[in-house]
């Protein structure tokens, strides 16, 4: 092979021209062009993957740029898939790049996945992740999964047989989606900018290994990485898929499956109230303010309220008897947990709120 662009790669022992040719022949689909998608795309296009497709319906926002380093400030407001395709084409004009500015959905999933060899899950929400998991399982497509939270990442390779012929999927790890409040996304939980870079590069590495046959691929294993303490763990995924009738078993069923509601069953029912809104109405007769901090935490709330430490909430549910229940804690974490728990217990006639930012934000209004 006489190709200077990839010379440092195909001289590698074990990789060679054969490896480079396998990359050149490969067809990869990257679902999501955000934090994970950017490094995945950059490295795979640079490495010489022959055909790459991108699907993403989002537009570039200023708050994306600390981690989505494929984009510039001047790109704000433009569709990610379109901008990514343009920049990647400049990076490597030899790569055949296709893109769709559209949401990955049950309606287009099968059509989009069909002609690709390997799929990379770079999505940022559970609806898309479970859809991708089911579609790849039903189409028998290798799926390279990654997900991130604050300073931690997860990576796994699904739907590829190990030496015993066993294949696993995301549903082997988490058979059913969580309540979205249990697993906040980057927008609410925050994320260190370098995290998706590191995790996305691990994902791209697994794609290259799988395509070229080098090394040991993360088949039926889940790797976790924590950037704060350098801890990494590799977990074995069990071969048995926990039985459940609550996900589609055929491609026809997949098209009609409601991923968006099955993954967001209760989000609409807990409302966030800002400190500024709350202080306008915290004396309202139909509103009950519930402080779920421990009894000795400061500062105290200077208005009438119930003090029910989170751990004792199950024993004191009957005290929550007004129309609007507002949970508050120090920073907003425990109040969200309380609201989530109470939602499962309440009659449905009450409105449930939690105070965003908690008393740390509310205290700015205490003297007014």
């Amino acid at each position: 092979m006489q190709h200077e662009r990839y010379a440092r790669q195909y001289v590698l022992q074990g990789f060679g021209e054969a490896g480079q040719q396998k990359l050149q022949a490969a067809r990869l689909l990257v679902v999501g062009a955000g934090g994970l998608g950017c490094p995945v795309l950059q490295y795979l296009v640079a490495a010489g993957v022959g055909h790459i497709a991108i699907i993403d319906h989002d537009r570039i926002e200023l708050s994306n740029l600390h981690r989505q380093v494929l984009y510039d400030t001047a790109d704000i407001g433009l569709p990610k898939a379109e901008v990514a395709a343009r920049k990647l084409q400049q990076l490597n004009p030899e790569c055949d790049i296709q893109y769709w500015v559209e949401q990955f959905s049950p309606a287009n999933a099968v059509e989009r996945l069909q002609s690709y060899d390997i799929i990379l899950d770079c999505t940022d929400n559970f609806a898309a992740r479970y859809l991708l998991c089911d579609a790849c399982r039903l189409l028998d497509k290798p799926l390279i999964f990654a997900a991130i939270y604050q300073y931690e990442g997860q990576v796994a390779v699904f739907n590829v047989a190990d030496t015993h012929g066993v294949k696993t999927s995301y549903r082997h790890l988490f058979p059913l989606p969580p309540d979205p409040l249990e697993a906040p996304d980057c927008n609410t939980a925050g994320v260190l900018g370098v995290l998706p870079g590191m995790i996305g590069i691990l994902q791209a590495t697994e794609a290259i290994k799988l395509l070229t046959g080098i090394g040991v691929v993360l088949i039926n294993k889940l790797v976790t990485v924590n950037l704060l303490d350098h801890s990494t763990f590799t977990f074995d995924i069990p071969p048995a898929l926990p039985e459940s009738s609550s996900y589609p078993q055929s491609l026809d069923a997949l098209k009609d499956f409601d991923y968006f509601n099955s993954c967001a069953s209760t989000t609409g029912q807990i409302q966030v109230i800002t400190a500024a809104d709350l202080v306008m109405q915290w004396h309202a007769a139909d509103l009950q303010l519930v402080d779920v901090r421990e009894m000795d935490e400061l500062p105290r709330l200077p208005v009438p309220h119930l003090s029910i430490p989170l751990a004792t909430l199950p024993q004191r549910l009957e005290q929550l008897n007004r129309r609007r229940i507002v949970f508050v804690c120090q920073t907003g974490k425990r109040s969200l947990a309380a609201a989530q728990y109470y939602l499962g217990q309440a009659s449905g006639k009450q409105q449930i709120f939690h105070v965003d930012g908690g008393i740390m934000v509310l205290k700015n209004y205490f003297n007014e």
């Binding site: 991130i148 082997h172 969580p178 980057c186 763990f233 947990a337 309380a338």
Partner: protein, 75 residues
């Protein structure tokens, strides 16, 4: 059996990142923790004993390491 528990991701908002506790099996371990921490009850989480993810309750041995991990959604 005294085991080491490791919490991952958002579970560290509820639990210490690492701690020791006593439980006969993983079911008892989860029951005890859910009783101590309301926010843990009914959460979807993955349980691994000594780096093996489990689907069904497993009897614990002295010094086992039990990992509790939530799904991450970020990308």
């Amino acid at each position: 059996m005294r085991v080491q528990v490791k919490a991952f991701g958002a579970l560290t908002d509820i639990l210490e990142k690492e701690f020791y506790m006593t439980a006969v099996d993983t079911e008892e371990l989860l029951t005890v923790l859910s009783h101590q921490h309301v926010a843990l009850a009914h959460r979807k989480l993955l349980i691994a004993v000594n780096n093996r993810i489990i689907n069904d309750p497993v009897v614990l041995q002295e010094n086992d390491i039990v990992a509790l991990m939530p799904p991450y959604s970020g990308g």
